[in-house]
């Protein structure tokens, strides 16, 4: 089948966010064809070029999100009125309130205590659903306008848009914060909406573009999923959304310096957009339980959620994982990027306690600092280590060194990442904030026992195969580490279990296999309804053989495949078809 991969600031650009993951996915599913539709985030990003693409990538189409040129189309009276209606509707929905909370209602059933809130929640639910519908129809209205008339960029920047926003903000019943919006706030919101709605002006939604794929796979939420949403609206292509980090949450963390009016309106927009994406997606694959909770909170239906853990290449760690004897029995290792969120201070204090009880132990901190803040933090940690631990020597005539060493990957002692893990009897993770702990998963691949703090997705990743302590608790960390240091058998047992768990859950193969299964499931459950037309443009009965409904490769069909418009396909007359390019038809 043919899969449209939608990315924003990612694959196929070298410096993209999720590029390695997409690359492994595309390479792992060589039996399918891939069309890559990429939105680039900055000029520098574009200049850095693409990854080498495998042959199954049939086509790459890119569009810049950072520069939208006004195409100079001036709307006529009717188009202007249509734009004003759609935009006014959008603005009215944004001013009416914040993100919907579909997930909360379904959760309420298993919460006896939430019953008190249920009645009020049901009362809120009805207008909330209407608002979601209004948002969707306004969004699709703008998209249709952009498709038929063009010139949406100019219109979104125009006075009509600002006026519509003002009217919505001043309307009775608008949000309190929106009501206080001033002219600069309105302009900021209009500019941001214009930026966010740039994918609407793309020419990707024709029958030779996203209309020709069997399935859209958005590599992240937000702007990347928006083309998929429109493709689904225009041509009925099912949408799969993968989110390793929830875009809405990123947005909340990023936008902090604007005025309350701007932030509340934009939060409403991103919340509504996320809800609409989740509503229209055939499946949503969060990368961990944390993302999953956010998605449920934003209105994603639980039945559509399939957690697919990120895949990691187990190859480099295989040798280390199968040779547990390489570990130095009294060495603790910490691996990661050095930054304040990793709380190395806590680790050093914990190690001070360990070192007091077990004088021979060593701590190796392996990692490079992240940014200027990280560099300052690393300097601070080194100073603390020098204060806490005097240099030690084997005898009166030997040169001593510190029991805590700071190293970087590629140094003489740790040429590779696997070597860093290999040298440790226990791998420690001391973060206070963590998303998906990659270093923990790598330690698991290496078959090492781990002690980690209970943050982010740590508990989910480690399962029962390592020790977990509360964050910011050096004493608990020290006790857990000592328990493992004194018990080699337990260490070995935990290490083996961790390796088995990692190989089961976090390999590239499981990731690719999971997506393969989801692709097949989507195509079998919600195939694109395409009508095949004959030369005169009339529908051709029985043109699609029954075999075509079997999942597999059927894009090579020589017939002219033309998509019809969405769910109303059975009711209306055949939609006029555009001609499929000769090259495509010949294939």
């Amino acid at each position: 089948m043919r899969i449209g991969i939608l990315t924003e600031g990612g694959y196929p650009y070298v410096s993209g966010d999720a590029s390695p993951w997409c690359d492994r996915l595309v390479r792992g599913l060589a039996q399918h064809e891939f069309d890559v539709y990429a939105l680039s985030r900055s000029e520098r990003h574009e200049d850095e070029g693409w990854l080498p693409l495998p042959s199954q990538v049939r086509r790459v189409r890119t569009a810049p999100l950072w520069a939208a040129e006004d195409d100079g189309v001036a709307y006529g009276r009717r188009a202007r009125r249509r734009f004003a209606e759609c935009y006014g509707e959008l603005a009215a929905v944004l001013c009416a309130g914040v993100a919907p909370e579909g997930g909360r209602l379904s959760e309420g059933s298993d919460e006896s205590s939430a019953r008190a809130g249920a009645s009020s929640a049901t009362a809120v639910d009805e207008p909330s659903a209407t608002l979601a519908d209004r948002f969707a129809s306004a969004l699709y209205g703008l998209a249709e306008l952009a498709r038929e008339e063009g010139g949406l960029v100019g219109a979104l920047r125009s006075e009509t848009a600002v006026r519509a926003l003002e009217r919505a903000c001043r309307a009775p019943g608008a949000l309190r914060t929106a009501h206080e919006a001033r002219v600069p706030d309105l302009l900021t919101v209009a500019a941001h909406l214009e930026h966010a709605l740039r994918p609407l002006s793309l020419d990707w939604y024709e029958d030779d573009g996203l209309g020709s794929v069997d399935l859209c796979h958005a590599a992240s939420g937000g702007a990347a999923a928006l083309p998929g949403l429109l493709a689904r609206h225009f041509t009925g292509v099912p949408l799969l959304v993968t989110e390793y980090g929830v875009r809405l949450r990123t947005h909340y963390l990023a936008a902090t310096d604007s005025s309350p009016a701007v932030r509340s309106l934009l939060a409403a927009f991103h919340g509504r957009l996320a809800a609409e994406i989740y509503r229209q997606a055939a499946y949503i694959t969060p990368g961990n339980a944390h993302a999953r909770r956010w998605q449920e909170r934003c209105g994603a239906d639980r039945t559509k959620l399939r957690t697919v853990y990120p895949g990691m290449d187990a190859g480099p760690f295989a040798e280390v994982g199968e040779s547990p004897e390489r570990a130095a029995p009294d060495t603790l290792v910490w691996v990661g990027r050095v930054e304040p969120a990793k709380d190395l201070i806590s680790l050093l204090h914990a190690f001070a306690e360990i070192h007091k009880d077990e004088p021979g132990t060593r701590l190796r901190i392996v990692g490079a600092p992240a940014g200027p803040e990280g560099t300052a933090y690393l300097t601070h940690c080194k100073a603390l280590a020098a204060q806490l631990f005097p240099d030690e020597a084997d005898g009166p005539h030997a040169v001593g060194d510190n029991p805590v060493s700071f190293e970087e990957i590629g140094g003489p002692e740790t040429p590779t990442l696997a070597d860093a893990y290999a040298s440790g009897a226990v791998i420690v993770l001391s973060s206070v904030v963590e998303g998906f702990p990659i270093s923990l998963a790598e330690a698991m691949f290496c078959g090492r026992a781990t002690v980690s703090t209970d943050v982010g997705a740590v508990v989910e990743v480690i399962g029962g195969t390592g020790l977990v302590v509360p964050p910011r608790n050096p004493r608990a960390l020290a006790e857990a580490c000592m328990a493992l240091l004194r018990d080699p058998e337990r260490r070995e047992r935990l290490g083996a279990a961790a390796r088995a768990r990692a190989l089961e859950l976090f390999t590239v193969e499981q990731n690719v296999a999971a997506f393969h299964g989801i692709y097949l499931e989507i195509v079998s459950h919600c195939p694109v309804r395409r009508a095949v037309l004959d030369d005169t443009g009339d529908p051709l009965p029985f043109a699609v053989p029954a075999e075509a409904h079997v999942p597999g490769r059927w894009t090579a069909a020589a017939s002219r495949m033309v998509a019809r418009g969405g769910p109303g396909w059975a009711a209306g007359p055949p939609v006029p078809a555009t001609r499929v390019p000769a090259a495509e038809a010949a294939r």
Binding site: E159, V162, R182, P184, L186, R249, Y252, A261, R263, S431
Partner: protein
């Protein structure tokens, strides 16, 4: 809101953690830690105090939830506050933020950027080169004069380009093609047009234009010199207009307020510019020893200034159309005079000749440019008070 969440009490955390037992016990016993430190009666209040920045600026509960998670608070931490997850904790915190005594977000007016020396110097450049060229034309004769005229034209063009591509006179996007040619036509007409018109009306022209005032085809340099010198005040006024408008943008609450405050500013800017030109013109006329053609110069400079002002704020379409119309009208006037020399076509010259006879040759540029300037002024009073016209300079995304 608060009591609803306190009834949330039995909600145990979804995964086994160190605080499993805590939630089912009364809060007084809820500290089985080794060192029972300060035990506030209201732990959520303490948490809100710790994250008061986050709470004060939050616009919805999800923002608080995102902020709390970024500070390392997980569902298991939330269980300590007797909440099922971070979301419900954030909801309680959001509900407990006092909203009544909120101080409205007061916008800080942007720092007014002082006129920059480099662009001030750059806008003086056209006037200087034009003055030098005019001086050279007056001082030289014959072949060197032709060279001086060519070199001068080139220098003035380049300096105009330098003044218009950067600084406050620079347009955000280039106008439609042809704008440049038609502008050149207007300038050329200001220098040569009146003389040519007179010469054509009297059967000429028979020689190349000269600077001598009584020549059959005299070269009028005063309007051009005034126009190039007025680049500097134009740049300053455009800068002033943009800055003041931006300040008004920051302080105004409604779009209509903004429009009403910008309209007088616009009219004042245009008026001030015309006054400057009117003051400059007699000086330049004395310098080049020519009569001061007030109507032509004022209308031409007003036309070009308004067109530029519109282009600076992103409106290039209407100025281009009006410019083309003006230049076409002027060209038509000239062409009719020459076409009248064809047999049976003498009637073509009648309207133009009547105008010349009644009010003099300056009527044609005055009428065309005056109409254009008026049209542009009306257009500008409609377009420039729009907030969106000032958005692109105010916000960068």
């Amino acid at each position: 809101m608060t009591d609803v969440h306190q009834r949330d009490l039995p909600g145990a955390p979804s995964s086994p953690g160190a605080w499993d037992g805590v939630t089912t016990e009364p809060p007084a016993d809820s500290a089985p830690q080794r060192t029972p430190r300060r035990g506030p009666a209201d732990p959520v209040k303490a948490l809100m105090h710790r994250h008061r920045d986050l709470c004060e600026r939050a616009v919805d509960p999800l923002e608080i939830a995102a902020g709390l998670e970024a500070h390392g608070i997980t569902d298991r931490t939330a269980a300590r506050f007797r909440h099922k997850d971070v979301f419900s904790l954030a909801e309680e915190m959001y509900a407990r933020i006092p909203h009544d005594n909120d101080t409205p977000h007061t916008p800080t007016p942007p720092t007014t950027s002082r006129p920059h020396t480099t662009w001030l110097l750059r806008t003086l450049l056209p006037g200087t080169t034009c003055a030098a060229t005019v001086a050279a034309l007056h001082l030289t004769h014959g072949r060197p004069r032709l060279l001086a005229a060519t070199a001068g034209t080139l220098a003035v063009t380049l300096s105009l380009r330098a003044a218009l591509t950067r600084g406050p006179l620079s347009a955000q996007r280039s106008g439609p093609p042809g704008t440049l040619i038609w502008t050149c036509w207007l300038l050329a007409y200001a220098a040569l047009g009146d003389g040519l018109l007179m010469a054509a009306a009297s059967g000429g022209p028979e020689a190349l234009p000269t600077t001598a005032p009584n020549a059959p085809w005299p070269l009028t340099t005063a309007p051009l010199l005034t126009l190039t010198i007025s680049c500097a005040p134009a740049a300053w006024l455009a800068h002033h207009f943009a800055t003041r408008a931006r300040n008004k943008l920051t302080t105004s609450r409604a779009l209509e307020d903004f429009a009403t405050s910008v309209r007088p500013l616009l009219l004042g800017t245009v008026g001030l510019f015309l006054a400057t030109v009117a003051a400059l013109l007699p000086l330049t006329a004395v310098l080049v020893d020519e009569p001061a053609p007030y109507p032509q110069t004022l209308t031409l400079t007003a036309h070009l200034f308004l067109a530029r002002l519109l282009a600076i704020h992103g409106f290039t379409h209407a100025p281009a159309v009006i410019l083309t119309a003006t230049a076409t009208a002027q060209a038509t006037a000239l062409v009719t005079l020459f076409a009248a020399r064809l047999p049976h076509c003498a009637f073509l010259a009648t309207p133009v000749e009547t105008l010349i006879d009644t009010w003099g040759p300056g009527t044609i540029p005055t009428l065309t440019c005056g109409t254009a300037a008026l049209a542009l002024l009306i257009h500008a009073t409609r377009k420039l008070p729009r907030a969106s016209a000032h958005a692109r300079t105010a916000t960068r995304w």
